[in-house]
Assembly symmetry: C2
Homo-oligomer: 358 residues x 2
Amino acid sequence: MKKFAFCLVLLIGAAYAGYVLAEKDSDELMQQAQSQFKPIPTELQEIEGITLTPERIELGKWLYFDPRLSKSWLISCNTCHNLALGGVDLEETSIGHGWAKGPRNAPTVLNSVFNIAQFWDGRAEDLQAQAKGPVQAGVEMNNTPERVEQTLKSIPEYVQRFRKAFPGDSNPVTFDNMADAIEAFEATLLTPGSPFDKYLNGDSQALSKAQKKGLKLFMNKGCSTCHNGINVGGGSYHPFGVVEKPGSKILPEADKGRFVVTETASDKYVFKVPSLRNIELTPPYFHSGQVWDLEQAVAIMGSSQLGIKLSRNETAAIVTFLKTLTGEQPRVEYPILPPHTKGTPLPVTGVSGNVAGH
Amino acid sequence: MKKFAFCLVLLIGAAYAGYVLAEKDSDELMQQAQSQFKPIPTELQEIEGITLTPERIELGKWLYFDPRLSKSWLISCNTCHNLALGGVDLEETSIGHGWAKGPRNAPTVLNSVFNIAQFWDGRAEDLQAQAKGPVQAGVEMNNTPERVEQTLKSIPEYVQRFRKAFPGDSNPVTFDNMADAIEAFEATLLTPGSPFDKYLNGDSQALSKAQKKGLKLFMNKGCSTCHNGINVGGGSYHPFGVVEKPGSKILPEADKGRFVVTETASDKYVFKVPSLRNIELTPPYFHSGQVWDLEQAVAIMGSSQLGIKLSRNETAAIVTFLKTLTGEQPRVEYPILPPHTKGTPLPVTGVSGNVAGH
């Protein structure tokens, strides 16, 4: 009987020690995560360089959804960055004016305000600069700043809205202000409230055991060396294929990435690390958009960036974690846009011009 | 003094008589209008053959905005019937898969539930039948019923929504039910509250003097012979160019209209009379979409359909009236669509096939 009691004490002690260790382990995992990542804010925050007045945000929403910013009147920002579909178009590379296939996969607009810069090669320093690109790109909206200004100035309700959004500006309806307003709207397109955000905010129950295992692998295998911060990526530039080049389908030779921006040899095949926020919603993956399967994308990252072969279990666990990055999608009322007038340049759907894309 | 008093009485009498006559005139105009037109209802009404449950309407909204009903994942119902732009695309004729130009101008979806039939040639008896057309047309969404069903069945949230929208249906996810749901959503896309509707509801102050003058001309010159009823059109078929053929740009020889549907010689160049509801928002005009100016469109109707040459003043007055047909545009929350899965057929943006359009 004494022997039995002794055994029981030992067992309880071992279980308790296990529990304490697990708790400690769990605390350490959360602390490690909190040191590497930051949650998406649930409220609009001040962002340097962006004026977030309700007037500017609403104007930006109109512009974001208005296909008349394109030469054909068919393509809006929302065509390729569809707010119904995780802020992307789910195409390998975007289709634009004349059904032209652009050179790169459309990155999501969601949370993009937190990226270090915009486009895969970071050639736009912010969303204001970014917004001007696709409007003018021949394979996207194929328009010109002059024609956009003429269009907006010909619509009295737009003129009035620009005046309210840019008070004190003597010439408020400009291409630059269009981009400013779009940037303001886009800065509101955040996806807070994901399970991972809840976890980062201290709720250890927000992630399941399997999701925590994935998070641990994500950090310990080295993924978070690049994919970190508020956007779990989006904060730095790295060469794609740093250890082992993926096939030329996934990393086409012709697209030299950031090299074109900096003209620095070491920037060949360097790209901005994409954010992994809402990643399950935004296939296909990589700048070439050639991989539809998230597990395959993770496996490629393992071999090309980290020089490791992740087991199937590890890949699956990491994907289980990545799915916790899906947050509450922004809900907006679809705008009723003001009608054009006799002074508005009419749509042109014919094909001409050829400029770079994303 | 007596003479003066007499004159005053005469003057007052004349003024009063004029007032009474004007009042009578005004009453008669309203009565004449009320006998020919009907206001758009402000509340959803029961419509024969359409089940308007909240579940079906919401599912229909998802489908209406989902570009994954198209082969390319780029074109949704809303692409050509854009709720931000009066339910149209503002193109001469619609642009579809592969940037193909369709044969006819896209009619507005707004209030279309009140039309006698759908498409310019009336070949679809209702919106349910209509919804199936563009999804399959090679120059529009270029998809097949089988592929649409496979797509919807591969997305668990869609399956669940179809179950709720079609309770008791053992196989709810079908192409037919897709069309039924889209029809239900479209039946909610009404634009009540226009000045003309207020007038029809008895508010004689809802139209200005100039607008009433236009209404009078609209009825007395014969426009309302065809453009009458709740949709101020949309209720009958008539030959385009019944008195005088407009140029072949506006009435292209190759498009024989309803003849293709009925194979009856007298139906050559016969088209459904389009609704004039929200007409100022939906240029360009006619099935060929060749006329951007509403005054020009009215003048053409005068000569081609009524055999009269309207003066510039008359045309302008009629347009002034037509602008009172613009109602409150339906406001909807932009849907957040459920993600596809591994079983979903991926987008195909290559070009093949060629089927008729609107």
